[in-house]
């Protein structure tokens, strides 16, 4: 939809800037958040958001073809990753990365599939996403170089977070939750391995469709930058999360920054404090207004009528003096009203 809308977005500089801005912030923020999640599926879904941010950047800079080329290998890589992680979760119940470890020997098929998926998600030749990312970065280099840095950073952070997940799940010692963990039923293994196989064949498909650039046209410097960022991400991930060289939980930077990322920029809390809060308050106020003012006024009229009738009932006392008194009072009041101009002249001057 977004890609189809590109011609409309391109008409307005504001829309273009907004698309690029949203894309860059989403890509960087989501990639950073993905590194800080303890829930493996949350982590992967933030990597999804990061790539959607890259697609926004591609659309904002008028590269529909690159956006589509990126989406295809990304989709297969992400499907393989989620299938492999899903297969692991299905037998180990927990989604908490801190409770995993040592599954490589127990779940080799899932582990291999995960590796294939992780490698084809980032810039790692000759697998799928590399070609799209190189083209994206190459095109951006001419128009807005700072976006190249965004792409490289997102690539590095995604590599780091996938490496982190892999090391925490499959590396290290087995934990209580992972001590007994056989491979899952064939019905899950089959789509997982098919996904991995497909991911390995994506370059062939891209080549068939003429989407892989000629080697002579390839920007080698850009390719090298992307590959080295991938390797850097993996190396850091492996160094930190494989074994006990760094104490867990890992501390980096100030605590508030780590919390900011771990709690997804406090987005949920922000919503609760703003939109949800306002809607809740307004609805309570209107409900109160409806119940006590609108409905209350109506019920008051009803009650007043009933009360008036009940009170008037006591006028019928059966005593002649009472009727005479009320008649006298009524007549006096009537006369007073009729003669008010006269009375006011006489008494008030």
């Amino acid at each position: 939809m977004l890609i189809k809308l590109q011609p409309i977005i391109a008409l307005s500089p504001v829309a273009t800037a907004a698309t690029i801005g949203i894309g860059a912030v989403t890509a960087l923020g989501a990639a950073a958040i993905a590194m800080a999640q303890v829930d493996v599926k949350r982590s992967l879904s933030y990597s999804v958001s990061a790539y959607m941010g890259l697609v926004f950047i591609a659309v904002g800079t008028g590269q529909q073809q690159v956006a589509l080329t990126l989406l295809f290998p990304y989709a297969i890589a992400m499907a393989t990753l989620l299938m492999s992680v899903g297969a692991v979760i299905s037998n180990n119940i927990t989604q908490d990365l801190r409770q995993y470890g040592g599954l490589w020997s127990r779940r080799p098929i899932s582990g291999l599939s995960y590796l294939v998926g992780a490698a084809s998600l980032v810039a790692f030749p000759p697998l799928g996403c590399f070609w799209a990312l190189v083209q994206l970065a190459d095109n951006l280099w001419q128009s807005s170089p700072w976006l190249v840095e965004v792409v490289v950073a997102v690539n590095a952070m995604t590599a780091l977070s996938t490496a982190r997940e892999f090391c925490l799940i499959f590396g290290g010692e087995a934990k209580p939750m992972t001590a007994r963990s056989p491979e899952v039923l064939w019905a899950m293994v089959l789509p997982m391995t098919v996904g991995a196989g497909l991911a390995l064949h994506v370059p062939l498909l891209l080549w068939q469709w003429g989407l892989i650039p000629n080697f002579s046209q390839l920007n080698l410097g850009m390719a090298l930058a992307l590959i080295s960022s991938t390797c850097l991400g993996w190396a850091v991930g492996a160094y930190v999360y494989l074994g006990d060289r760094v104490a867990k939980p890992v501390r980096f930077g100030p605590q508030f920054l780590q919390d900011l990322l771990a709690y997804d920029f406090y987005t949920a809390k922000l919503y609760r404090l703003t939109i949800v809060f306002v809607v809740g308050i307004v609805s309570q106020l209107i409900y109160w207004f409806d119940r006590f003012i609108v409905d209350g006024a109506i019920n008051l009229v009803g009650l007043a009528t009933v009360f008036g009738g009940q009170t008037l009932k006591y006028n019928v006392s059966g005593q002649t003096q009472f009727y005479v008194l009320s008649m006298m009072l009524g007549t006096a009041l009537f006369l007073l009203v009729l003669c008010w101009p006269l009375v006011s002249q006489v008494f008030l001057g």
């Binding site: 809607v279 209107i286 409900y287 609108v294």
Partner: protein
């Protein structure tokens, strides 16, 4: 021909009402259903015979009744009333079968439902203003009794409130009609002979305002709505289906038929005010629904909100929006009936309507899985998810009203987001979560109880996928109506010619 739609239910009501005491409840219900089904078949036949090109009244019938006072028995249907007649006959059958348990005093009950159907059909077909008022008032009696006898705990309060409000509504409408005929110097109350162009604009404005207040009670619009939550909540589900599905539509139908159609020039003057009132109703209903703890009351408030869309669309007065107003009447009738039927089943089986008590009804073994699934679908339809009938109607309303009242339309779109909010609250609390083991001994939902819901669901889905069937009978009529309004707004959905080259 059209008289059949009035007299068939009345004959049915007489037979059911004076049936021998030995006849069981099932037999009485079947008898009532036969009368209602025959009426439905008759309306469907009319649907097939209806001339789709004409925008005038068809199948007209005229009998002079009381000429000196200008009352005649003149009936006719056009694209505005015919779909509502079909809805009314359909929902009557649904209501007959949505009772679910044994009814006390079944002869009176079924007879009253049929009488209500006859009176509503009469009001929809009336081509004489006095005849309309007559049927409009007659229909109050069966509804008053149906709420007052078979209602919930506070049924006395609710039924009296309903009666007082709607009787005032009838009086105001009668006053406006009398004023219209006297001031225009028309010889009778026949719609065809009435011409309001001779009335001065000031008088037109006064008449239209009185008429508006009268119908606003029936629709109902905020702040005249307070009879609605009580009546809907206290009435049994079957009666609520009739109240919300058909009766409330008389208000919007009357507003378009006797307001928009008879005062096309003055309509433009009050339209901005109407749009504000409609938007206020939409927002008010949605916000109030969010704060409710009782699921039936929540659906009742949602109804106030959804009726507001109709008013905004009618006020905008473009071809699309008036068509959208009619589509919204039909879609709201269907969806509301489905919602109330399902909420009724939940109340019967779980014994409560409290959001804080209900939980986990989606549980496939011990919950009410099919009921909850259909409730989710109905909630989605009400919130305007594409593929269901609610989307079609809301889209027409928004698209048609936006060129005239952009701000009101945007607020309505926001309110349709709020619809999603309260339905998510409702579904999240009732259908999802963990079933309370101490409470979860629910009786089985029988197929006969589920059948009305399945029929309604099928229609909601079908009309969502084939929206043309929702509007094909009405389009010439609504276009004809709009053509009489002096200022016309663009009717095309969107001009895509500029993008054709892409």
């Amino acid at each position: 021909m059209l008289s059949t739609l009035i007299w068939l239910p009345i004959i049915g009501a007489v037979i059911v009402g004076f049936a021998p005491e030995s006849w069981g409840e099932t037999r009485l219900r079947q008898l009532a259903a036969i009368a209602a089904s025959a009426t439905l078949v008759w309306t469907l036949w009319l649907l097939s015979q209806f001339n789709l090109q004409a925008n005038t009244f068809q199948f007209e019938q005229y009998l002079a009744w009381a000429e000196p006072i200008g009352l005649s028995y003149s009936l006719g249907v056009d694209g505005l009333s015919l779909p509502l007649l079909v809805l009314s006959s359909l929902l009557t059958i649904i209501a007959l079968y949505s009772i679910g348990e044994k009814v006390s005093r079944p002869r009176l009950y079924y007879a009253l439902i049929l009488l209500a159907n006859a009176a509503i059909a009469g009001a929809l077909m009336a081509e004489n203003l006095l005849l309309f008022v007559l049927f409009y008032e007659v229909e109050l009696i069966p509804f008053y009794l149906l709420i007052g006898i078979w209602g919930g705990e506070k049924r006395g309060y609710a039924s009296i409130k309903f009666l007082l409000y709607t009787a005032v509504s009838g009086l105001l409408i009668l006053a406006a009609f009398l004023g219209m005929v006297w001031l225009s110097g028309s010889p009778s109350f026949d719609l065809a002979q009435l011409n309001t162009t001779g009335i001065s604009q000031r008088s037109q404005l006064i008449l239209l305002t009185v008429l508006l207040v009268g119908f606003a009670i029936k629709i109902p619009l905020v702040p005249l709505h307070t009879w609605l939550p009580d009546a809907y909540v206290e009435a049994s589900p079957a009666i609520t289906i009739l109240l919300g599905g058909i009766l409330a539509k008389l208000g919007t139908y009357g507003l378009i038929r006797y307001g928009l159609q008879l005062f096309p020039e003055t309509w433009g003057l009050i339209a901005p005010g109407l749009a504000i009132l409609g938007t206020a109703s939409v927002l008010y209903g949605a916000f109030s629904a969010i704060a409710q703890k009782d699921i039936k009351r929540m659906v009742a408030y949602s109804s106030i909100g959804h009726m507001g869309y109709i008013l905004v669309a009618a006020a905008a007065g473009t071809e699309l929006s008036v068509l959208g107003a009619l589509a919204q009447m039909l879609s709201h009738g269907l969806i509301l009936a489905l919602l109330f039927h399902l909420v009724g089943i939940i109340e019967r089986k779980a014994g409560t309507r409290d959001l804080d008590v209900l939980n986990g009804l989606m549980n496939p073994i011990r919950g009410l899985p099919l009921t909850s699934a259909l409730l989710i679908l109905a909630g989605m339809a009400s919130a305007g998810i594409p593929g269901l009938v609610g989307f079609v109607a809301e889209y027409l309303v928004f698209q048609g009203s936006f060129p005239v009242f952009p701000l009101a339309t945007i607020l309505c779109i926001i309110a349709s987001g709020l619809t999603a909010v309260y339905f998510v609250i409702l579904l999240n609390r009732t259908c999802f979560g963990k079933l309370d083991n101490r409470l979860a001994y629910y009786p089985q939902v029988r197929t006969t109880e589920m059948l009305p819901a399945l029929v309604l669901t099928a229609i909601v889905v079908f009309l969502g996928l084939q929206p043309n069937w929702l509007i094909r009978w009405s389009e010439p009529t609504t276009n004809g109506l709009v053509a009489t309004i002096p200022v016309n707004a663009p009717s095309e959905i969107c001009d895509f010619t500029g993008l054709a080259g892409e």
